[in-house]
């Protein structure tokens, strides 16, 4: 299995603050990799280094076979970043946002690319409305759709569901699952354990600048004492109640 992302001994500090203290990770091609960590654990810093936005202090990181500090241009051609805050242009329509990115990537037939993505992300009806009028979930879907233009090999998603309502979150989860099925490698960060559990093949936990656990969900579960049978009456979660009342689709 080919390694799409390889990180060795990566360190980064801001002034006196030591954010990453030697991170080692490897992500397989075509998998969904979730980086778990609380606020301020260094998730965004790591993703920004991988996306060539930030230089590291020491250690090495390569994405799609190219070192991020040696050949950032080649890395940029292979990746796509969806940042923590939705970076869509509110004044442009959904379609115009997609066409803009397709043109900047110098792809032929930007209009056709936009149409296909609008269809795939269920945004065709809203295509000619300004993105500023979209709901949170729609904006995030448009954001991710913009990231897919040019078929990047690796997609970075920094807390893709932060700030979304439960329906929006499920929309985005389905989108991400569909991505990995098409062979794209997905590297996402999240604070929500449930999100990692729902989506990821591999999970790593970043804590105080170091990876303290790394493996498949099953492997991580084995780190805990073996499961016992316990009888607990299953109460519906508030989320399930909310979704059943508003007719959500799970």
């Amino acid at each position: 299995m080919k390694q799409m992302i390889q990180i060795q001994g990566l360190q980064k500090s801001f002034k006196n603050l030591n954010v990453l203290k030697g991170v080692d990770l490897a992500v397989e091609k075509g998998s969904i990799f979730a980086l778990l960590g609380s606020n301020g654990a260094g998730k965004t810093t790591l993703i920004r280094i991988l996306a060539t936005l930030l230089p590291s202090d020491s250690g090495s990181a390569s994405v799609a076979g190219s070192d991020v500090s040696v050949d950032p241009d080649r890395v940029r051609r292979a990746i796509s970043l969806t940042g923590q805050f939705t970076a869509v242009d509110d004044v442009l329509t959904g379609r115009e946002n997609l066409v803009l990115i397709a043109k900047l990537r110098h792809l032929p037939q930007p209009q056709r690319i936009a149409d296909e993505l609008l269809e795939r992300f269920n945004l065709t009806e809203a295509a000619n409305r300004r993105a500023g009028t979209y709901s949170g979930g729609m904006r995030r879907r448009l954001d991710i759709a913009m990231s897919l233009i040019g078929n990047p090999e690796v997609i970075f998603l920094d807390e893709p569901t932060t700030g979304l309502d439960p329906e929006g979150r499920i929309e985005v989860w389905n989108t991400i699952k569909a991505l990995a099925n098409s062979g794209t490698t997905v590297f996402l960060t999240t604070q929500h354990l449930e999100e990692a559990e729902q989506l990821a093949d591999h999970i790593a936990i970043l804590h105080e600048g170091k990876i303290i656990a790394n493996g498949t969900l099953d492997a991580l579960k084995r780190l805990f004492p073996p499961a016992k049978d316990e009888y607990v009456l299953k109460q519906p979660t508030l989320e399930e109640i909310f979704l059943s009342i508003v007719g959500g689709k799970e």
Partner: protein, 255 residues
């Protein structure tokens, strides 16, 4: 896929198209940028104009250059605003993680500032013509006026870029243009500086707006321009180069 090449010019024009859409889609931009200076011109010509002593000739002829500068100073405020939004919303970051020429994001805004201010200037000149403005300048004179105004717009646009890229808040990004809009009032734009008290007059005579206004006015009326033109050009070029260097640094650092 393996060819590492950027396309700075085509990227820049894509960005220009984007910010021109922004401009044409916000009515308030169009109104403040063109209608405000026109209203000011109407006010000064038809209300105060009768009492103004500016020598022979129509007051609208005297006033127009200053109004054009105010319009441009007002217009670049929106460039600061749009740059700030792109920085804050992560739009620049998105472009940066793409194989897009780094300079394109910034130059797209600068070019759209030039285009939109040129449109504003043309509209104001047309209104002035309706109000009786006449110029004896030939094609060369008009060309020289266009050149000065383009330099002035570029100088202020790069100043706006510094403000937009380094501001911490929206208010901060826009506030920089207030003194720029005010500067023409303490210059020869509305009345000759000779009637001002000495301290004010000294400031008015040596600040950049006066030499720019006087040069444009002389060119439009077909009078000899003299050394004031060189002072005006020196101001514009000087501000432009210094502001450009700081703006590019702010762009590298903050986006």
């Amino acid at each position: 896929m393996n060819v590492t090449r950027t396309h700075p010019f085509s990227d820049m024009f894509v960005m220009l198209g984007r910010s021109m859409r922004h401009i044409f889609r916000s009515m308030d931009t169009i109104i403040t940028v063109a209608v405000m200076p026109i209203a000011m011109m109407l006010l000064f010509v038809y209300v105060f104009g009768g009492a103004m002593q500016v020598g022979n000739g129509r007051y609208v002829d005297y006033l127009l250059p200053g109004i054009l500068l105010i319009a441009i100073a007002n217009g670049v405020g929106y460039t600061a605003y749009r740059l700030f939004l792109d920085k804050q919303r992560g739009i620049f970051e998105r472009f940066r993680s793409m194989p897009v020429a780094r300079s394109a994001g910034l130059w797209g805004h600068v070019l759209s500032s030039l285009v939109s201010n040129a449109i504003t200037v043309v509209v104001i000149v047309l209104v002035a013509l309706l109000m009786g403005f006449r110029s004896s300048a030939g094609a060369l004179g008009w060309l020289a006026v266009a050149g000065i105004l383009i330099l002035f717009t570029l100088a202020l646009t790069w100043l706006a870029a510094i403000a937009g890229l380094s501001a911490k808040s929206m208010d901060g990004a826009i506030a920089f243009s207030y003194p720029l809009v005010f500067l023409p009032f303490i210059s020869s734009a509305f009345v000759p500086t000779e009637t001002m008290p000495s301290v004010v007059r000294a400031f008015a005579q040596y600040q950049p707006v006066t030499s720019i206004v006087n040069s444009v006015r002389a060119l439009l009326s077909g009078n000899p321009v003299g050394s004031e033109l060189w002072i005006a050009l020196a101001w514009c070029l000087g501000i432009m180069i210094v502001a450009y260097l700081f703006a590019v640094r702010a762009y590298q650092k903050n986006t």
